[in-house]
Amino acid sequence: MAKIKSIYENVMSRWQALTDFKFFWPLFMITGIAFCMAASTYEFIDLYVQLILIYVGINIILTVSLNLINGYMGEFSVGHAGFMAVGAYVASLLTVHVFPPGAQNLFFPLAILAGGLAAALIGFLVAIPSFKTRGDYLAIVTLAFCMIVKSVLENIDAIGGPRGLLGMEKLTTLPWVFFWTALSVWVIRNLVYSNFGRGVLSIREDEIASDLMSVNTRQVKIIAFVVSSFFAGIAGGLFAHALQFINPRMFDIIKSTDILIMVYLGGIASIAGSIIGAVIYTILLEILRPLGVWRMVFMPLMLVLLMIYRPRGIMGLKEARMFTPLRDLVTEKLWRQKKKEAGDASP
């Protein structure tokens, strides 16, 4: 056991050193995308497995981005599906009605990006009530927002109203999902380990003290909501082009609940936790499919049991070393060396 642990530590610290290498992330992206492209062209991964991997990726984006608000900032947003809906509709409308049918593949990333930006704009608006309202009342604001989005979509006949929207090509492929998932994880990790991220955390710990320690809490809340909703919008766009059909009911409170469960299953304030939560939840639901209706009886029971025995989720408030930047440790080490040299020199 101890040996396994030491091997794990060793691997992780090497990985950490690797991720701090300047060109690591671009290289990681390129190899990952290349692998996924090969996988989807030569089909050495089963199509069914590919489909599940696509949903796993989308769920990772949703979970990591919601964790920014609910885990790192300590608020309780239940409106994540609303941002997803905005992204899904904007991206779908662009690919179906605006971009030329021949060049869908070329314009797809633009559509997804536009969906994310639209969701980010809405996220900015939702951040404003969060300046004054907190806790359960902010939860209600996000809930109301989610309902309003759904209701607005149902009432616009031009985009299908309650019947929904179809006509999207199946543009969401494994390489794209890999790209956006890795990007969201990387960006949110960068945010969390910057001073803005420390601001987000300090708001969770003690908002008044944080304000008094020069943290511009309004700015921090805007950044957190905008980044979080941006990626929810991205996930929405990918979701729409994987399913090739969307309607407003897909993005109601039940969808939000799903994302919440993945966040708290994996554990708050942990990127590794979010990934684990999304993977376990998505795959378990697939594995239990033969159970039929009873699947959704067992899943909540397992969730309740997990909460009773591990109230903070699988990785609550803990981070796998592969996601913590090495630069802090390196800086600290250098600093200690310098201090020691100075200490040796002075007496």
Partner: protein, 256 residues
């Protein structure tokens, strides 16, 4: 020119006067004590200065700049930092991150640079970490930089809170009952510690305290509050013999 000038500040909670007609001028490098019985409005004065509450009337100026109406982080950025009566560290964050958070007002990278790790981000992070560690070293906390704040013993938590406040590079430091929960021996150490902070960081200090020994020992000037009203100001010796103060503050002992 005084560093801080508080003029005719009044604050009401739902009709109740928590502080009325409070005046104070603080010269640079002074060490001033605010004393008074429980509920006299001492912490309210701190909350008014730091912008947690907005004064109902009056003006508070730091180097001539009006503070009333500004948010706490704006005021902190202008050069006022504080500690709290009941320690309010960011418990789940590491000691280092507690201090680094306080650099928020002085970072030189934009959110976009942070999200994409470009531009000044890495250099700035390095600078902040170095400065935070330097500060922690001064306070002999650098060995515990990676520890979560909640795991520190009580005395070190108090020390860390002062370090965190100083990380904002204040001109004026407000200490809210720094001696709470300390024994007489520790209080004597604390007196030296406060004097040392004033000298090392060349800050002006206002402190709220119950412990007479501490206040009389280090403060150059005292303000006595009772039911929100200022009942006396002056040198510690004057305050000690002021009949009004004895009546309000030590009422019971006089009766005996």
């Amino acid at each position: 020119m005084p560093l801080l000038k508080i003029e005719k500040v009044t604050h009401r909670f739902a009709g109740l006067c928590a502080v009325s007609d409070f005046n104070l001028a603080v010269e640079p490098h002074e060490l001033i004590g605010v004393i008074g019985p429980n509920g006299a409005g001492k912490t309210t004065v701190f909350n008014l200065i730091t912008g947690v509450y907005r004064a109902s009337e009056g003006s508070i100026k730091l180097e001539g700049q009006e503070l009333v109406g500004k948010t706490p982080h704006q005021i902190t950025k202008l050069g006022i930092a504080r500690t709290f009566q009941n320690i309010r560290l960011f418990k789940e964050l590491s000691v280092l991150d507690n201090v680094r958070t306080a650099h928020y007002g002085r970072i030189h990278y934009t959110p976009a640079e942070a999200l994409l790790q470009i531009g000044r981000f890495r250099a700035e992070e390095k600078r902040i970490t170095h400065q935070a560690l330097d500060l922690l070293a001064i306070f002999k906390l650098d060995e515990m930089a990676g520890e979560k704040a909640k795991n520190l013993p009580y005395g070190l938590q108090r020390r860390l809170e002062i370090a965190r406040a100083l990380a904002t590079e204040p001109k004026l430091l407000l200490l809210d009952e720094p001696a709470a929960g300390m024994n007489p021996n520790e209080i004597i150490q604390l007196m030296d510690f406060i004097r040392w902070i004033r000298k090392t960081f060349s800050v002006t200090i206002i402190l709220i305290e119950h412990q007479m020994r501490l206040v009389m020992g280090i403060c150059e000037r005292l303000v006595v509050l009772d039911f929100g009203a200022t009942i006396a100001t002056g040198l510690p010796v004057e305050i000690q013999n002021n009949p009004k103060v004895l009546e309000a503050y030590l009422g019971e002992e006089v009766a005996v």
